[in-house]
């Protein structure tokens, strides 16, 4: 098993080969057959801190972050700023003391999304959830310490 994701094949479909640790954590951690707790000698005591590093963004910060991104679109000329410049701009803005709280929140969201390949960047804000017939239960990474 390879811990670093390596894309295989060409084209636009990203194929981690076979799977990065982040993928493994994401995909298999809370899956599989469960037996009753009382017969288990132990079930985890999970030290995989990566799963606890999820960032919860307040709704307002999320809205401001999307508003900011929308405002930065160049509607008439494609190819606006990339995310890196965006973050730098926001850092400048923050250092000038403008609405630093919101900026910090958005920046945190952005940088974490960027560095962690978006795997840790889950918005846990309450949004309307739709039911699906074949939906599995919502995933929960309770680290049962």
């Amino acid at each position: 098993m390879t811990l670093q994701a390596q894309s295989r094949g060409g084209g636009y479909l990203d194929r981690p080969s076979p799977s990065s640790l982040a993928d493994v954590v994401e995909i298999i951690l809370d899956k599989g057959i469960v037996i009753d707790a009382y017969v288990r000698v132990s079930l985890v005591g999970i030290e995989l801190l990566t799963i606890d590093a999820r960032i919860v963004i307040a709704s307002v910060d999320t809205y401001l972050r999307f508003a900011e991104a929308t405002n930065r679109l160049d509607l008439y000329q494609h190819g606006g700023k990339d995310l890196g410049e965006f973050i730098e701009d926001m850092q400048e803005g923050g250092s000038r003391g403008k609405v630093s709280g919101a900026v910090k929140g958005a920046k945190k969201a952005l940088t974490s999304g960027r560095e962690d390949d978006e795997d840790e960047d889950e918005d846990e804000d309450e949004r309307p959830r739709r039911r699906r017939s074949s939906s599995s239960s919502s995933r929960r990474h309770a680290s049962s310490r």
Binding site: L21, I33, V41, Y63, A67, S136
Partner: protein, 249 residues
């Protein structure tokens, strides 16, 4: 490994059909060899471990994962949840294999010849924001009203703008996910939505597909990804054991 008699436990990786052909040389947690505990029509795949310690270590997860990968390459396998350790093999038979043999046998029959993939799709942010802005006059108006003002001068309008944009984003994510799943449903045998479409991901689904159709699925996804590449990015992991299609939850 078995230095302290009471401390040793049995790490349970999976349940497989009784006749399963275990890959040679496959080792699991702590580098220990794995073995079968047969019972009736099924067998548990187990390995020894020192039960006194926590099983949540990174090395344990990768060991577990590679055992499951090795098993999945050989046939039907029903993964146990990571970290399942019992005190001895009798407990395993009494509490899992004997009482749930019918259910396990049925699940393994359903998984015969099947493999799982995990598909994740995310939006290309700028492209989708562009689409949303072009489609919604209110977004364009609020954008014009706020973009040249300092943020603190129009917080309410910006929040409203962001709210409109995120709502559209979520609605579009749902529509795109539905469309792609409909396209895939002619190939896959089953799917499980792991996370509803939203701001962080358009799709996060496990797909169960016949091994013979795996290539067809990969090809179709490659085509979908190529066609949508300006606005959607796809990541496909697998083939892997059918983690999402066993157990009740």
């Amino acid at each position: 490994m078995t230095t302290t008699q009471e401390r040793s436990g049995v790490f349970v990786y999976a349940v497989v059909p009784h006749s399963f052909d275990l890959p040679e040389g496959l080792t699991g947690v702590d580098g220990a060899p794995i073995e079968l505990v047969p019972y009736g029509a099924v067998a548990a795949v187990v390995g020894p471990m020192v039960a006194a310690r926590s099983t949540g270590r990174r090395a344990d997860l990768t060991a577990y994962s590679s055992v499951l990968d090795g098993l999945a390459a050989r046939g039907a396998v029903a993964p146990m949840r990571f970290g399942t350790v019992v005190s001895d093999q009798d407990v395993l038979v009494d509490e899992l294999l004997a009482p749930r043999m019918d259910e396990l046998t049925r699940q393994l029959r359903e998984l015969e010849g099947m493999t799982q993939y995990h598909l994740r799709a995310t939006y290309v942010e700028e492209a989708v924001l562009m689409e949303i802005t072009e489609a919604d006059a209110r977004v364009r108006r609020l954008r014009e009203a706020t973009r040249d003002l300092p943020e603190e001068a129009c917080i309410a309008e910006r929040v409203r703008l962001g709210e409109l944009v995120t709502r559209s984003w979520e609605r579009w994510a749902n529509a795109d996910a539905d469309r792609i799943l409909a396209e895939l449903s002619v190939i896959v045998s089953a799917y499980r939505v792991r996370r509803e479409p939203g701001l962080s991901a358009v799709m996060d689904v496990a797909l169960l597909v016949e091994v013979q159709r795996a290539q067809e699925l990969e090809d179709r996804l490659e085509a979908i990804a190529a066609e949508a590449h300006e606005r959607l990015k796809f990541r496909l992991a697998g083939p892997m054991a059918a983690y999402d299609f066993v157990g009740s939850g």
